[in-house]
Symmetry: C2
């Protein structure tokens, strides 16, 4: 099999093509909105969530076009959250993926509408019969993605994150924040293939458990890079969390403690995959990729 990076690039390309096809063209009286939606989601990102959807779908022999549509829906939700998180009232980010953030390239009002319309489009894509012939499967995808994105998932996590500024969260609270803000959508991405493949509840539970470990590992590695990383490699200003007084897993456990936690998560994630009745080599590789990445 080709190296992971090559396979990720191939899937990122397929997702790009489908995003381009499903996003409205920059035409019509609302052309500016369509142009800004395309700016916000096309041409960037590692597309980790789509890759997880595709890897999960492969386990259950799901036809690729269906998995690609679900990948697009997940990426639309992810993209909307980045546009809204970057707004001046939120994280006030000037750049995103090396380009001006959406509200700087366009304006704040347009960026708010971009996020809103990307979210609507995600559910439109999922509910369409092209995503799966069985309506019950499509409904299940809509419901689970809505929960993952909503106040008991991603939006709720962002609320906790905003309120956490300047307050000393404990470890449990930091873990809860991460679980909602980034974990919920990763769990959906990992479970989606099993939903498309009509897999048993036990398999879905194992994938969600794997995803929870993966999400936390991703966050810890992010925090470690923030403290120990090379700014030239990460392309980010380092030490931001510390400067912002934000509680992180690394801040609470120390660097060695965080590395031990990464090791434990790796063992735990692997055990969850052992519970599947098939070899999930790609998901094991993704875990290694996430905890060894340098950007």
């Amino acid at each position: 099999m080709a190296p992971l990076a090559e396979r990720m690039a191939a899937i990122a390309e397929a997702i790009e093509i489908e995003l381009d096809r499903l996003l409205p063209p920059a035409l019509g009286a609302q052309a500016r909105l369509h142009e800004a939606m395309r700016y916000a989601v096309l041409g960037g990102g590692k597309r980790l969530r789509p890759f997880l959807v595709m890897a999960g779908a492969e386990l259950f022999a799901v036809p690729a076009p269906r998995a690609i549509r679900v990948s697009v829906a997940v990426e639309l939700i992810h993209g909307y959250s980045l546009v809204h998180d970057d707004l001046p009232a939120m994280d006030d980010a000037l750049t995103r993926r090396g380009r001006p953030s959406c509200h700087r390239r366009f304006d704040e009002a347009t960026a708010i509408l971009v996020g809103d319309a990307l979210q609507s489009l995600a559910f439109e894509v999922l509910a369409d019969p092209a995503t799966h012939p069985k309506a019950a499967v499509r409904c299940s995808l809509v419901q689970k993605l809505a929960v993952a994105a909503g106040s008991l998932g991603m939006s709720g996590g962002q609320m906790i994150d905003l309120e956490a500024e300047g307050r000393a969260l404990g470890l449990e609270q930091v873990l809860e924040l991460q679980r909602l803000k980034t974990g919920a959508l990763l769990e959906f991405a990992c479970e989606a293939g099993a939903l498309l493949g009509d897999a048993a509840a036990a398999a879905r539970a194992a994938l969600r458990a794997y995803a929870a470990d993966l999400g936390l590992a991703f966050q810890i590695q992010d925090d470690l890079l923030d403290v120990t990383g090379d700014a030239a490699l990460t392309g980010k200003d380092l030490g931001r969390d510390q400067a912002a007084g934000k509680a992180t897993v690394v801040g609470l456990l120390g660097i060695d403690g965080a590395r031990r936690r990464l090791h434990d998560l790796r063992v735990s994630a692997s055990r969850h995959l052992d519970r599947l009745d098939r070899e999930a080599a790609v998901l094991r590789e993704v875990f290694e990729f996430v905890i060894s990445r340098s950007n």
Copy 2:
């Protein structure tokens, strides 16, 4: 039958109870978000859209609990749009329904998240099996509501509206703006009962056509009240559109021309209802209500 106002109040009460039940309680680490979501949608509004859903559902003998869930979904989308439209970057509204707007009562970041999470919740509610036993019906509701809310509907209309400030739109453009910004969601509300009742495509088309006339009539009456209304009755600052240099149907057709258009719409809406094979007395009444209201 009880007068329309009484029946509207009864339905508004039923919707309030169901909204209260389906909105998350103001608990948990993200309690502030939940509190703000409840603030934004509970205890206010004419609930016109829910009333249209219920009236349409009655025509096709749809069990009320199903129609109430769809009403709630529509109202969640409507509520999210009000919260985002009121933001400083958008219409910068200080009050809504006689209370401080959501971003003033809470803060801007919270208000952005409120809108985002209300939208997710709307689709969660629709996709849930409690909304309709047939998954195909639920998917159809999700897809149509997503289109109505998205860039080819409500969000697109708001984009056009923002860009219209200080520009001289022609009649066709003003009509297109209204069709997207408010018409699309009204069309969904009017068609939803027929979708729940598995009605024929012809009935659904007639209801959508009725809704298009109703939506435009609603807007024209709004514009007329802005010019000729009594501020004490409408509870709004009048003459705002003119002051903002916004093109309106009344500005383009004149007061008499707008009243003639209202009359034409009334005839047209009534003809669309004639195409249904059942007596839609309530929808006829709603039309009268909309064009004769003084606030």
